[in-house]
């Protein structure tokens, strides 16, 4: 395959020394869902990962089948990137509606790049630098033929590469990799469109050319990968030894089940698309009982449907991984928006006293590691483990070091060894170790795994005393787990005025806000919880070292004025210093929302940062 050589080289007018040096840039691409803006956003993220830059993305997809407005935001630059950015430095508007909906997300002084074939910006609005480029026309002209304006995303990619001084050879390399499996003319057209964008006359772009500051050198080590949260989670499950699972399609969980359905057969495993959510957890429990580490998952309403079976998993003490990619609720709610409103359900959902484990990954990288942790706990404590991720994390792309798979991979095979005469399915003084079918039992007495309250041999019992003992057994094993967990790390000041506490996908934004607050003179620290149930040890002592403990969550303050984790922590530690900053707009936290929220709580009106 012969590829056209990128013909353009930057002219003298854009020599690096004339470019503005920036630490990082936030680019928001606004168009429609069929314009392929996710594709170029993905290219930019991957490119950043392969260069020295750090990266984080943010995207929205409409909950319609096809079409509808869509955005992709990429923040890339030198040093640590903790959020996808509050305000954009560059807005690329494909349509009039994109311009109108997103112009206020551009920071004053930022650059509006608009498709002059579709957009007429307000001439009165002088807050921004405006660059009109006939993106549609130029793409059609460059690519020619019958492909219409297909490829204008790559034209824009070329334009951005020119503006940010990205290595065109690296970008075209990525394009070739991405479209390599397709027909030659697909790659050729893509490169033609990219080149046309990259060749935009320098005088048009003069005011907005920039370059990244030199990145601090990265310790030589493992190669970097750029991965979205759901993919990282899927790979984490594979590394954890999950070879069996079942699910039912629902946004934003579906991409995990699609990936598992595609990957598991290669590993000799099975993933079943079940008839409904109740069947999905049933299949997964069947796999689990048969001796495999199994997974099921869902989002929002789907978790509600699984709750009865989850109660059985607790009662029968079955190891199982349950993923909840949270979205806005209740009911169908906001299926393509983010929320952290399923914490209480994860901890207390189902019926009866049903203790189980709940974990939450803090970023895309942690989606990989949390799956390993969940698998470890499920097997060691013979318990269901819920993983609470969310819509923002599911689609967010981040760059991180490739995991050391050789050291991490787990290979749990069903243990079918004969069980000795001391075997009991439900010993009161020990953690349950099930004998999967296929395992001979030396006593000749085969166990029944049960959802009825049972004695140590698994026989149903109505004995009040045994129910007390077995309820305690199921509780105490999680207390054993709690005692074994590490004390959470405190970021920032080890004591002081404010401790900000969060869980899940908000870790990066909270940390960025913490940096601003501390730079403004506030003595503040951060704790981010990965283990939500049971809670790790040492939290009470940490909380006591701060005047205010502010729990930052994307859920409602509820009837009593506290978010869901704050309620838990107040109940657990009985500290009046614990309060909440919550929100329910279905969008990830902006840094300014957290900073302003903390200041408002302190009555400072923005004096810190």
């Amino acid at each position: 395959m012969v590829l056209p050589v990128t013909p353009h080289t930057p002219g003298a007018d854009s020599a690096p020394d004339e470019r503005r040096a920036v630490r990082d840039v936030v680019i928001r691409l606004a168009g429609n869902s069929q314009d392929g803006i996710q594709t170029i956003g993905g290219f930019l993220a991957r490119l950043a990962g392969r260069s020295a830059q750090d990266v984080m993305t943010y995207m929205t997809i409409p909950s319609t089948i096809s079409g509808g407005p869509s955005i992709f935001q990429v923040r890339m630059g030198s040093g640590e990137i903790l959020s996808s950015g509050d305000q954009a430095d560059f807005l690329v508007a494909f349509y009039q509606h994109s311009y109108e909906s997103h112009i206020n997300s551009l920071r004053p002084g930022g650059v509006l790049i608009y498709d002059s074939d579709h957009v007429v910006p307000n001439p009165e609005d002088r807050r921004f630098k405006s660059v009109g480029i006939p993106i549609t026309g130029a793409t059609v002209e460059a690519v020619g033929g019958s492909s219409k304006d297909k490829g204008k995303n790559l034209f824009v990619l070329g334009l951005i590469a020119r503006i940010l001084e990205l290595d065109p050879a690296k970008v075209t390399g990525l394009i070739t990799e991405r479209f390599g499996g397709k027909a030659d003319d697909v790659v050729r057209n893509a490169i033609l469109a990219f080149d046309a964008g990259y060749g935009t006359p320098a005088n048009t772009l003069q005011e907005c050319l920039c370059r990244f500051e030199a990145s601090p050198p990265r310790p030589a080590g493992r190669p970097r990968v750029t991965v979205d949260g759901n993919t990282a989670l899927t790979f984490g499950l594979l590394a954890a030894g999950v070879r069996h699972g079942a699910g039912y399609p629902i946004t934003p969980w579906s991409s995990v089940m699609e990936a598992l359905r595609g990957e598991l057969p290669k590993y000799g495993g099975v993933f079943v698309q079940a008839e409904d959510e109740l069947a999905a957890i049933g299949y997964a429990l069947g796999f689990a009982y048969s001796g495999h580490l199994a997974v099921t998952g869902s989002s929002g309403p789907g978790l509600s449907l699984k709750m009865e079976a989850l109660g059985w998993a607790v009662m029968s003490e079955m190891p199982l991984l349950v993923i909840n990619v949270q979205r806005g609720g209740p009911s169908t709610g906001m299926p393509t928006n983010v929320e952290q409103s399923d914490l209480m359900q994860a901890i207390y959902g189902s019926h009866g006293d049903a203790p189980r484990v709940v974990l939450a990954p803090k970023d895309a990288e942690d989606c990989f590691y949390i799956a390993l942790e969940a698998g470890r706990i499920a097997r060691a404590y013979s318990t269901p483990v819920l993983i609470l991720t969310d819509q923002a994390l599911a689609t967010r792309i981040e760059a991180f070091d490739e995991p050391d798979l050789a050291a991490l991979m787990v290979d749990p095979k069903p243990d079918l060894s004969p069980r000795g005469t001391d075997f009991q399915p439900y010993p009161i003084g020990r953690i349950t170790r099930h004998a999967p079918p296929g395992a001979p039992i030396a006593t000749g007495k085969y166990p029944t795994v049960s959802g009825l309250e049972h004695d140590e041999l698994g026989h149903p019992t109505g004995s009040p005393g045994l129910h007390v003992k077995m309820t305690a057994k199921r509780r105490e094993k999680l207390k054993l787990l709690a005692a074994s967990l590490p004390v959470p790390e405190v970021q920032g000041d080890p004591d002081g005025e404010v401790l900000v506490v969060g869980w899940g996908s908000t870790c990066g934004p909270i940390r960025e806000a913490l940096k601003q607050l501390r730079a403004g003179g506030l003595k503040a620290g951060q704790v981010h919880l990965r283990h939500l149930h049971p809670l790790p040890p040492g939290l009470g002592e940490i909380f006591a070292r701060y005047r205010h403990v502010l729990v930052i969550e994307m859920n409602d303050e509820g009837l009593y004025g506290f978010g869901q984790l704050a309620m838990m922590l107040r109940a657990r530690y009985a500290l009046p210093s614990i309060t909440s900053i919550t929100k329910t707009d279905g969008l990830t936290f902006r840094i300014s929302e957290i900073v302003n929220g903390v200041n408002r709580h302190l009555g400072n009106n923005g004096s810190h940062a």
Binding site: T231, A274, E275, A279, L285, T448, G451
Partner: protein
């Protein structure tokens, strides 16, 4: 390679235990004296005695209901799951472990009401397992409410003036579902039950047997019409022998789906035996094929190599 092939067999070093009624008997049944389910349990022991599978490779499981207490009374690996959902659990078990023999027992409420969707979809997927529905036309464990098979006019606590919702026709539902072995028996006809259950167990696919099993407490005499000792008629389906004789023309061909449907539509008490039997690839087989194709494509790369190459693509 199939998923099952990867699992080492534990049965080899363990001395096999000949399966007898004594070996198979576990807890004493909690059913009411005279309940039809006792006969089904006895027939199941006989079937296992005939089949002589390794004891540790048999799983007896159930959902919720009177009949679903079954696993506690059988000395095999057992599962007592939740109401109506035994089939997906059993299907996961079967797909996860091809070396097992999975038997599910349940009632009409479990199977046709709360679990109706699973029945149809397990049929559609044709997962290799055997499902015995002990149909008593009434909710017994909750003490006499209308069940999905209660006939019109049946007086229950939820229909004191007589039920008027159209009851489910189990054979028609099952033939329609895609189940590849559909049969019907009567708890008073022990030999027929044993023959039918054994055939179901030997079938490679989703096999279902509905057994009319009287609830003496809440629906006494429900199935007398099918019991010669109570003045009824136990009419057994004569299956085609394909011997070219004229009388063979009149016999039932279990591979004929439409004939099975017509047979299922006969007036009460209908006929007993195998209504439908066909060989369609099981989900177990199709998933194993999928695995084999994927392993061939990846040249049976190790799990570590597979995941490493997935990550490499994201660099």
């Amino acid at each position: 390679m199939s998923a099952a092939a990867a699992i080492p067999s534990a049965s080899a070093p363990f001395p096999p235990v000949p399966l007898t009624k004594k070996v198979l008997t576990a807890d004493h049944p909690t059913w009411c004296p005279g309940c039809g389910d006792f006969a089904v349990l006895a027939a199941y022991y006989r079937v296992l005695e005939r089949l002589q599978y390794p004891q540790q490779n048999i799983v007896t499981m159930a959902g919720i209901g009177c009949s679903s207490r079954f696993p506690y009374f059988v000395n095999t690996h057992g599962v007592h799951y939740i109401h109506g959902r035994a089939l997906p659990f059993a299907a996961g078990l079967s797909l996860g472990r091809d070396d097992l023999h999975v038997f599910v027992f349940g009632g009409d409420g479990d199977g046709f009401s709360i679990g109706g969707n699973h029945l149809v979809h397990t049929g559609r997927k044709n997962v290799r397992l055997t499902y015995v529905i002990m149909d008593n036309f009434v909710y017994g464990l909750t003490k006499k409410q209308t069940s999905p098979t209660s006939p019109i006019g049946f007086k229950s606590k939820t229909d004191p003036t007589g039920a008027f919702d159209q009851p489910i026709n189990p054979m028609r539902t099952l033939v329609n579902s895609g189940a590849t072995f559909v049969a019907r028996s009567h708890a008073t006809q022990v030999n027929h039950m044993i023959e039918t259950m054994e055939r179901a167990a030997r079938h490679d696919g989703f096999s279902v047997v509905e057994i009319l099993s009287e609830c003496v407490e809440f629906y006494e005499g429900a199935f007398d019409a099918g019991n010669p000792r109570k003045g009824g008629q136990f009419r057994v389906i004569e299956e085609k022998k394909h011997d070219g004789t004229p009388e063979d023309e009149l016999r039932h061909d279990p591979a004929d789906e439409l004939a099975a449907y017509r047979l299922a539509s006969q007036p009460w008490p209908g006929v007993f035996g195998v209504f439908f039997e066909t060989n369609r690839p099981t989900k177990n087989r199709l998933e194993a094929n999928l695995i084999a194709a994927a392993r061939e494509k990846t040249k049976a790369a190790s799990d570590l190599a597979l995941l490493q190459s997935s990550f490499r693509r994201l660099r």
